[in-house]
């Protein structure tokens, strides 16, 4: 087998940049220089073997740990040290030595590949220093802002807690009062109640009759609706205009199935339709369509009917309505579903108790170790791209809306802090957004970066339906080493 004899070539101190090269075998970092003593045999750094020194960097791998070939690509697990004077020293895998690609900015990795590399360490160093200075400034100012935020959050929290306990106290007081009054009242009302119960029963009966009447009216209405040719009869084909009545759920209402619904007859009149109606009323969808609220007035009582209509399985339908509500009352994000539900029809008795509960919820949020993220609560931030307007409402939801019209898509509701250990608060996760065709529900990862402004910097969709957002906020800014220090010196161990 061929073996290329590359003799130890001591780096002649190209003296690029300011540092002076100390003589040592190629690819050896300064701190390991003493292991490579020309005058003695070389012992692999894992101690596994000792070889004559002329086999160091001879382009043949002798040591299992690769330590005999710090300057060649011979060992699969070796690493090469670039001094990179003027920039940052670094190690590269030895497979990148002489591979024709410039890896070290001081060009030392390409000493025999024929490629000519430019020494770019000085520029890189300059650039990095500038960036670091800028970063440091941002961090400094951001951190000052953060302190302020923390202070505000503290005050806000205290206020809210105060308000909450006040409210709770007053509610308790109120409830006690009510209890007391009730006792008084109940004793007084005992005879009256019995009479009332009788009334109530009568009322129930009346209500049932009313319900029946309503049912009949509805049936008549449906009959007319179904009787397309107005011949006073509902036929199989007329029934088939309502595919939702399909009993086996295969999506098609066949002749036989329709006939079955008509109890075997081809046609029924309005009398015969009574039986049919009981078969179909659960499924029947009126042609007078839409998520409508039916308000039926009867006597002194208002009946609110909640109507749920399954919309198309498309993601977006109905988003708007949800949003308005959520934005209005700063409610916690609701379970999002694909049905259009007629929220306004819901009997609302919220006002009396919602305030303390929403306060409790707000207080219970994890707004960071010093509640520095609290200021984001109930705020929204937008970013407009070529096609879409993205909207981030921290601790609530992320959404996307086409710039030129179209409905909004939910990209996820607040999930949790999701950063890696040690920097948990660097990433927010929003999930359970609108579902994707054959895919997962949309979700968004929000990466927080230190900045003076609070703003969405960028959005992308690295994988279908998994969004990534960059969000700058002072609240994530770390305390600089020393607030008083001006531009910090380049930290050689700083990770990039």
């Amino acid at each position: 087998m061929f073996r290329l004899q590359v003799f130890l070539i001591v780096s002649l101190g190209a003296a690029l940049g300011a540092a002076v090269e100390v003589q040592r075998p190629r690819g050896v970092p300064l701190e390991k220089r003493h292991f490579y003593d020309e005058s003695r045999p070389f012992t692999c750094l894992d101690g596994s073997r000792t070889i004559p020194f002329d086999r160091v960097n001879d382009d043949y791998c002798d040591c299992k740990d690769g330590s005999d070939e710090p300057g060649t690509a011979a060992c699969p697990n070796g690493s090469f040290h670039c001094t990179n004077a003027g920039f940052r020293a670094t190690f590269i895998p030895s497979s990148r030595i002489n591979d024709g690609v410039c890896d070290c900015c001081d060009t030392t990795d390409e000493y025999n590949s024929g490629v000519s590399c430019q020494n770019t360490c000085r520029e890189l160093g300059q650039k990095e220093r500038e960036t670091l200075e800028k970063m440091a400034e941002i961090t400094r100012e951001g951190f000052l802002l953060k302190r302020q935020l923390i202070e505000e959050a503290k005050q806000g929290l205290q206020e809210k807690q105060g308000k909450l306990s006040e409210l709770q106290a007053s509610r308790k007081e109120h409830e006690e009062k009510v209890d007391a009054l009730r006792t008084v009242k109940e004793t007084a009302e005992q005879p009256e109640r019995e009479a009332k119960e009788r009334h109530l029963k009568a009322w129930e009966a009346q209500k049932a009759a009313l319900q029946l009447e309503k049912e009949k009216a509805k049936m008549a209405e449906v009959f007319l609706e179904l009787d397309g040719d107005a011949d006073g009869l509902v036929s199989v084909s007329e029934l088939q205009t309502h595919q939702e009545l399909d009993p086996d759920g295969d999506g098609a209402l066949t002749d036989t199935e329709a006939q079955g619904l008509l109890s075997g007859a081809d046609k029924v009149d309005s009398a015969g339709f009574q039986n049919v109606w009981s078969n179909i009323k659960d499924k029947y969808v009126s042609e007078v369509r839409g998520p409508s609220c039916l308000l039926l007035k009867s006597g002194e009582t208002d009946f609110w009917l909640e109507v749920s209509v399954h919309s198309y399985p498309e993601d977006d339908a109905g988003d708007e309505e949800d949003d308005e509500e959520e934005d209005d009352d700063d409610d916690v994000p609701e379970e999002y579903d694909d049905k259009v539900t007629c929220h306004r029809c819901r009997p609302m008795c919220a006002t009396c108790s919602s305030l303390p509960e929403s306060l409790e919820k707000e207080i219970s949020f994890d707004f960071g170790p010093s509640a520095e993220f609290a200021y984001l609560y109930s705020q929204c931030y937008e970013l407009t791209t070529n096609e879409y307007i993205y909207r981030l409402c921290p601790f609530n939801r992320v959404s996307q809306k086409p710039k030129y019209g179209g409905s909004e898509t939910n990209l996820g509701s607040w999930g949790s802090w999701n950063g890696p250990e040690g920097s948990k608060y660097s990433i927010m996760k929003y999930d359970h957004g609108t579902g994707c065709w054959q895919g997962p529900n949309r979700s968004t990862t929000v990466k927080l970066t230190c900045g003076k402004e609070t703003a969405v910097l960028s959005t992308s969709e690295p994988s279908r339906c998994e969004y990534l957002m960059e969000f700058s906020t002072p609240a994530i800014c770390q305390e600089p080493p020393s607030l008083e220090t001006v531009a910090p010196e380049t930290d050689p161990h700083d990770e990039f």
Binding site: P76, S95, G100, S463
Partner: protein
Amino acid sequence: MWMFWAAWLSSCLTVTVAVDRGNFKTCDQSAFCKRQRAMTPGQSPFRALLDTLELSDSRLTLQLINDNNKVRLLLELYRLQGNMTRVKINELKPLKPRYEVPDILVTDPPTEPLSVVSRDENGVVLSLGAEACRLIVSAQPFRLDIMEGPQVLLSLNSRGLLMFEHLRPRKDTWRYPSFTFLFFQAPDEENAKEDESGMWDETFKSHTDSKPNGPSSIGLDFSLPGVEHVYGIPEHADDLKLKTTDGGDPYRLYNLDVFQYELYNPMALYGAVPVLLSHSPQRTMGIFWLNAAETWVDISSNTAGKTVFGKMLDYVQGASETPQTDVRWMSESGIIDVFIMLGPKPADVFSQYASLTGTQSFPPLSALGYHQCRWNYNDQEDVRAVDAGLDEHDIPYDFIWLDIEHTDGKRYFTWDSSKFSQPREMLQGLMDKKRKMVAIVDPHIKVDSGYKIHNEIRAKDFYIKNKDGADYEGWCWPGSAGYPDFTRPDMRAWWASMFAYDQYEGSMENLYTWNDMNEPSVFNGPEVTMHKDAIHQGAWEHRDVHNLYGFYVQMATAEGLIQRSGGVERPFVLTRAFFAGSQRLGAVWTGDNAAEWGHLKISIPMCLSLGLVGISFCGADVGGFFKAPSTELLVRWYQTGAYQPFFRAHAHVDTPRREPWLFGPENTAVIREAIRQRYGLLPYWYQLFYHAHRTGQPIMRPLWVEYPEDAATFTMDDQFLLGRDLLVHPVTEEGARGVTAYLPGRGEVWYDIHTFQKHNGAQNLYIPVTISSIPVFQRGGSIIPRKLRIRRSTSCMENDPYTLFVALSPQRTAVGELYIDDGHTFAYKENKFIHRQLTFANNTLISRFVDLIFSFLLSSPCV
């Protein structure tokens, strides 16, 4: 049938969303197939008119007459060099010319003299050269038999299934009785009527095929006495050994874009190679049915369904019946033009077929590295990040791929101006790392008057026409699209010129091409493809040329890549659709598979089948295209793909990201190791491709190719050989704790390439496996070159030393070779390469030049 499949589906594919079978025809729904199949074995109505026999030096012609309708056919017989026979049958006087497939044969096959040995009123005996090889023409009923000594090797029309629908004028009403298929032996009147249907038009789902030329199908049967194993006729997602088709559909050859294809059935897929191989311990033969129309192949066997016990019983009782396999080909139009390759060894059949349709193109070395693909890498930043991610995790790769989203609105040859605003900058960034890119160029062209490519094609009138003469338009990725007529040489020349650097904006020499959707895929067409009555140049119907379309697209594209470099650089073009001869043009992959264990398993027989018919450069989407693979499946797929010729990871746009480092450090390490093994063995891979290119021998081989007498190997398709010397048994079972590999060759030894442990041949070996195991063995007696310095890409490793792995035979000898050239140009054609034969004997390694001329100087001292 439906019930059967439904039951099968529910038992095997519990959660799978599978192909919508209703979108694709069964034989019963394909009128000509139904008519052909309605004819059952019996006495053939054809008679050879011996008095019309004419024999020139190498060509025999003879008229055949159908006694039922008196239509005459012309039979031509040729004896070809290299132990082949060509049989052509056409109408003697067709109403108009019938299509004969051009451009597939590399040359007019050289012939050898035919001579009449004997002749009487019953037939003629011809000599096929020496060794008692005879061709017997029987007159009534007409049949052909090829004999060697007393043994019949192969018979044509022995079951009387020759059927030739002659062209006929259309009458006012197609039900007119004179159109009754007289030569069809319809058993009764009712059947005859039914058989007529679909002759002058045919409706499938909402599409009507107008069939202005009426019926034109052809069919012929072949009998193979002594044969129990037949292979080939890809592309099907099925076992290596072809199954009998009695009671089911025939194997179908009709290039189709099948959404979420199903495994283990004879449905047509993206490509078609009408070549069938037969094998028995005594002889390997091949049948090449040169026809580009929709084709169905029926296979039946007299031993099918017999258990081993049943066969033994036959043997013990001395049952007279020898095993026999019968094959029946049916095509919708064209002529019968069939090449019978007589072997006798597998290697002979490969050479014979290669002499007809050419050999595997010799790809640039980089194309044998790892390919990182996804639909889609979103933008330049994404490309940069993936490139950096692979570097960060020390994973080598050579190509990163861009799918359709890189274009400006699916206008090929363009770039999305916001996502890929600086393509040359991006390509330069890759070039600085010695890496390359592939961008997709599909053949459907957006109909858009603001699109240069469309305007030029329209101005040159290069689009395929619909039946009414207007430009054919179909629906595909860009919306409404035209389909250039790639059967036109002038169209192909123009297309090729579009790859010039000054035409294809943003392209550079490290940008290569991928042709997808070239079946062609037409979303709103019948069976998701083009209407058969669409018209190509020369007034040929799409029906006649359908299976050629993808071949021509790749041909024009590869030519473009060659031309842009002034003829210097080897092209690399991947295609999804293919035909016989596509091996000359680049690589193919098995299309839109799914992230399921079954799809991983099937990748082996699918690529083996392609290799048997010349197309060696084959691979499956690593990880599976549809759906998200489990981590274990992804890892196993990398391990399998690393040992298959074309090694590309790909994923559907709706699946989560799956770059190799996204599954935790342990899995990243296992995937990295698999890819590194690939790079280490690239010298061997390259040498195998060189051989495939020179000789037509497959790269990925079923075991029986090298061990033709070992019946244990005949149905094996969970393991394979690379060349002769590496045996691979990838782990393709979920949760596997071990695999049982069969090591062939009595008296041979095999070495585990990871542990160097020695195992004897001719045994089933149980190998315990962990998640990092890839069972691979090197044959004792072989020398395999590797490169052990695994770097970022193949060209980063260009100047690295080779390490020879010498695996000794029990006789303590070994042979091997080493092939080295510049890795990317055609200079090897001028003998600028090193090719050395290595021999190890008596503890000495000797290296000799294989080729006499040596003018290639390596830039580094190697070997």
